[in-house]
Symmetry: C2
């Protein structure tokens, strides 16, 4: 049900097809984030039109509100949010561990306080799997511990715990129509990253995620870890780089062999009036755009760029009209999804090598890393 | 260019076709309000899909921001907001006269302060027409004075001024591709309403608006004024009841011979979590909907009702997700537009008389009047 077919490669870059119960995913793929069972400001029809094929939703948020059992009783996430294509849920681990001041970790799980009402809750590997089974995504994630990446001793403790929890997640899983991905940790420590990659690769996961990157380390450190980890992984399974990233990060990740990405950046930038473009990132609130008749990006084929001027978008922003966020979200998501599709096409037709430097130059002006809870 | 064809009638109710440079309008018609060159939270594609054919935009708001000259330089309102069907602008009078404390009226015009930055501005009939010519809507409105409806002496002064201003608007108009509508005033005073109707009907306007209603008077008073005014008007011109209304008001207006309506109510209710339905108005934040799998209205064919449950909509509201406003706006606008289309169909096929009481009963639970600046 969850087989991965490698169709073509170019160096380490891969073009493939990942089969899921809600349709086949062409990889590499970029997944918009729909934290609370909605990609902020967009309807599923708009997401489909802009080219989305996989949506990520957050277990932590949905567990607290509206509750995973309610989502289950209403037919699961696909039915609840009316998204008929594949869905991925994270394990809730990243959000819980982000709350450094209020959570308590032990070898069995984590106790934490709700950001909504301060109430106390507890996640264990078994609980995370149970919640994700209630939510019903196609791809679910093992419960892992994401620690401060540079403290070797604590990273080792967190990694060992992550490995034990990965085994417990595999054991507690009951649904056959969900693919459980294991998560590699190990911070920015080469020895731990390799150890974690080898351990997770040895387990019967249909897909493998790389966690704990793009959380504050440098770009060189991230690249070094990817260069170490990816060669440890089997060709037969999709690789998912969690929470990444910028256009540049996507290019860098695909070149190293990553298949799946997600990031809040496109929709978050949209809410801050910023747009990706092949000229570099634009802040549409800037007065320079007040009379600019051009679309955000003349080379973009999204709904927003097909008709709306920068001047109109700026007017919406200044007038505090919510349509600004919608139109910018459509553009930013389309831009990243299309970039990944274009790169996939170039892997398939053998033109990656000649085209990649153009993309790298074109998108470099959009680089800024981002992390944390949306 | 702006001929009106009466196609069928049933009692005083009319089904017609009003020709404009941006397409033919089937009347009666309900126009969504796009105050700042956007119907709040919706793309033009969504407006078209939900059945909108005419959009109203506000001269006062666009004059202040982004400025009518900027809109003109960017190709006019249709191009600016990417709405290819007919557009109507009001004259700015209603908004200016709403600012009772800060505006000063004289026989030549009105001086007022911007709600944005307190700066002083002046509208005259000529200025209003000039702004509306810059904006470039298909239907534009004469500059009128909307006064306290029950004070006979002041209503008479305002009405006489409105008539002089109507003549000045006709004289100052230069564009032939815009239809200038005159506006009937007269408050809730029968003699003044009849006088105003006869005067405006005598002028060479291609369409006639009824202003100064739905501003706080009772429903009976509004009906009494409509019953007096409409028989004074020629069959050959469309009649526009400004700022109305609720589903009930639309039914009542169509039965009396009104052809065009606009109101902020559907989108404003959406932002307050309320939805029209054939069961009466629903507040989707209500806990009773937390596990309700039904759509807002099982008999509705809009995008929202085709898939989304009340439970999901409530979740979006509770989680403060903007998609709630979008989905409720789609439904509320579709509901009113479809109601008007259904009534039009029944005028055409001769079934209005037998069907009207069903509609009146079904939609009575949605009644609440509303007025003012959105």
């Amino acid at each position: 049900m969850f087989s991965y077919n490698l169709i073509a490669s170019a160096g380490s870059a891969r073009a493939g097809m990942f089969h899921t119960p809600h349709g086949d995913l062409e990889t590499p793929v970029f997944a918009p984030v729909g934290t609370q069972a909605t990609v902020k400001t967009l309807t599923p029809a708009q997401l489909e039109e802009l080219g989305a094929s996989l949506i990520l939703s957050n277990t932590y948020h949905l567990y607290l509100r509206p509750g995973d059992e309610l989502v289950r009783d209403l037919g699961g996430l696909h039915e609840f949010m009316q998204w008929r294509k594949p869905v991925l849920t994270d394990s809730g681990g990243f959000q819980v561990f982000s709350m450094a001041k209020t959570r308590k970790i032990d070898n069995d799980g984590v106790t934490f306080k709700s950001h909504i009402d301060g109430s106390e809750h507890r996640f264990t590997p078994e609980k995370s799997i149970q919640i994700q089974e209630n939510l019903g995504a196609d791809i679910i994630m093992a419960f892992d511990e994401c620690s401060d990446p540079s403290d070797h001793e604590n990273v080792k403790i967190a990694m060992d715990r992550t490995h034990r929890w990965a085994e417990r997640c595999l054991e507690s899983k009951t649904r056959s129509d969900q693919a459980l991905f294991g998560i590699i940790q190990g911070g920015v420590n080469p020895d731990l990253r390799v150890e974690s990659a080898n351990f997770i690769a040895s387990q019967p996961f249909p897909g493998i995620a790389i966690g704990g990157l793009s959380v504050g380390e440098s770009k060189d450190e991230m690249h070094a870890m990817l260069d170490l980890v990816l060669p440890c992984l089997p060709d037969s399974k999709p690789r998912y780089l969690m929470g990444v990233g910028t256009p540049e990060d996507l290019i860098d990740g695909i070149l190293r062999g990553v298949d799946i990405f997600d990031c809040v950046l496109p929709t978050r930038l949209a809410r801050h009036n910023a747009a990706f473009s092949s000229e570099g990132r634009l802040n549409l609130m800037n007065a320079v755009f007040a009379r600019d008749e051009q679309p955000i990006d003349g080379s973009c084929a999204c709904y927003t760029c097909k008709g709306f001027s920068r001047a109109y978008l700026r007017h919406l922003i200044i007038a505090k009209e919510l349509l600004a966020g919608t139109l910018l979200s459509i553009h930013n998501l389309h831009a990243l999804i299309q970039l990944v599709k274009d790169i996939r096409g170039s892997i398939l037709d053998g033109t990656l090598e000649e085209r990649i430097s153009t993309w790298q130059t074109q998108w470099a002006g959009n680089a800024v890393r981002s992390a944390g809870i949306e």
